[in-house]
Amino acid sequence: MNKIKINSNEHTKRNLIFITLLFLLFSSNILAVEITVERQSDLLHLLKHDCGSCHGMTLKGGLGPSLLPADLSAKPVSALQHIILEGVPETPMPPWKQMLTQSEVRWLVMQLQQGINDVDN
């Protein structure tokens, strides 16, 4: 029984290490998205005022579609990221990859899906 217990403890330890490693791996992915507070504020400003010229300052849509959580939250992050980085051919949506990095766009997509509280920007 004792042996088994030790074994199970070791198991738990291994599991913990594995989970920790997994977490680190995953969070390093998140860490890659780390954006300074200043840049976050710039990005939100860009979103509201420049993306807003087509999507509306409140993001409820204009010439371009609505960017509210109700319209975006069910869509895959990678697809939305692709749209922002590459644009949509045959539509006015331009590619932003020359101005924004992948992680900045990913961060923006996550903000959009959660909904952006009205930032005084």
């Binding site: 005022h49 087509c54 509306g56 300052m57 204009g62 006015p92 331009p94």
Partner: protein, 392 residues
């Protein structure tokens, strides 16, 4: 002695009358309205002394808001993005009436006779027409095309004959709504005018309506003196052979810059101002500029063209000399230049510098800044003299 007393009496009375008239009576011809888009305010300004007179709040979402004026120049009609239509008394600095007339709007026009105000809507796609007096709805024009779909409406202008002309972005059509009988608009539809008309304008004489096309190189031209001739394509393939550049902000065509027989228009995507010969509607020249042009505006005398640009070049304004077609000045007024408005005879231009929260005033001869005022994220600037111009 009696005489002197009497005289004094009169002097006092005259002074009193003068003071009173200063306080209560004035014209509105040198007034204007600055949109402060983020906070839903507008500021009423006086252009002779360059000062603010009043600030009005509670106008809703004013991103991309625009204004037309009643023909007595006393009332401004503000078209908000959220579908709000607000009538403002610029003399008293107050809202007269406000209606929410749609979910999502993009501007409007006032009829030739001044009695009707039309609003172009994205959602639901169409045009609503109101009495300019009461803001009561007098006509609805749903922009229905194909099998019952609604199109977003753009480029709505007034035209002689009490008509409104506008373009259907999703349908690729231009419509004329004849409002002589205001309750029952007579609609003429022009189909297949080109892909994705993004804005429209009417020449200052009210003759030509031109829609800019986003979906293809070229513009769609309708001669309102000869509507039977239909819509003609002009500047076809002007960008052919060049790699298409992405567009970071839709150009505007309002305030069609005409100088002599030439018109100056923004190229879609290109860092170029196109010069059009209005006799044959062919490209006469192209002027390389600093970025993608958003507004290309002629000084009222047509001697200079002022241009601002899309993100990320929106910190710059360039001035083109019409005779030489050369850039004579590159100005860096500040962060995010959104709009420019000339005083009625053009000695000054007012420039909104959104991200620096300022409106800067420039002398158009010296090309130097003469003064500045604070404003909360200013966007459009609209002076009352627009009241008497077709299409504005």
């Amino acid at each position: 002695m009696m005489l002197i007393i009497k005289y004094r009496h009169y002097a006092g009375l005259i002074l009193l009358l003068l003071l009173q008239s200063c306080a209560t009576m004035r014209g509105t011809g040198d007034l204007g309205v600055v949109i402060e888009r983020a906070s839903g305010h507008v500021t009423i300004v006086e252009t002779t002394l360059g000062k603010k007179l009043a600030r009005i709040s509670g106008l809703g979402d004013l991103s991309h808001a625009s204004i037309v004026y009643s023909r007595d120049e006393r009332y401004a009609f503000v078209f908000g993005r959220d579908g709000g239509l607000t009538k403002i008394d610029i003399l008293q600095g107050m809202i007269v009436k406000r209606v929410m007339q749609a979910g999502n709007s993009i501007g409007g026009a006032i009829s030739q006779d001044g009695k009707l105000v039309a609003v172009s809507n994205y959602t639901p796609g169409g045009v609503n027409v109101f009495s300019s007096d009461t803001l009561e709805l007098v006509a609805e024009i749903p922009a229905v095309y194909g099998d019952g779909k609604h199109s977003k409406v753009v480029g709505l202008v007034d035209a002689p004959g009490n008509r409104f002309v506008f373009s259907l972005y999703d349908a690729g059509q231009i419509w004329i709504a004849d409002m002589k009988k205001s309750g029952e608009p007579k609609i003429t539809r022009y189909k297949n005018i080109g892909k994705a008309p993004y804005d429209g304008l009417i020449t200052g004489d009210g003759r030509y309506y031109i829609a800019g096309l986003f979906g293809e190189d070229g513009m769609a031209l309708l001669d309102l003196w000869n509507t039977k001739a239909g819509v003609k394509r002009i500047l076809d393939h002007y960008g052919r052979g060049e790699k298409k550049l992405p567009v970071y902000k839709m150009p505007h065509l309002e305030g069609w810059a005409v100088a002599g027989t030439n018109a100056f228009v923004p190229a879609v995507g290109g860092h170029t101002v196109l010069v059009l010969d209005m006799q044959d509607w062919k490209e006469a020249d192209r002027i390389p500029v600093y970025g993608q042009p958003v507004f290309v505006m002629a000084r009222p005398d047509g001697r200079q063209i002022w241009v601002n640009f899309a993100y990320p070049n929106n910190d710059t304004v360039q001035v083109i000399d019409v005779l030489s077609r050369k850039i004579i000045k590159t100005l860096k007024p500040g962060k995010a230049i959104l709009h420019m408005e000339f005083t009625s005879k053009g000695e000054q231009v007012w420039i909104s510098v959104r991200d620096d929260d300022r409106v800067d005033i420039y002398d158009t001869e010296t090309l130097k800044q003469v003064s500045s005022m604070t404003a909360d994220k200013p966007s459009g600037i609209f002076f009352a003299a627009r009241a008497h111009r077709i299409g504005l």
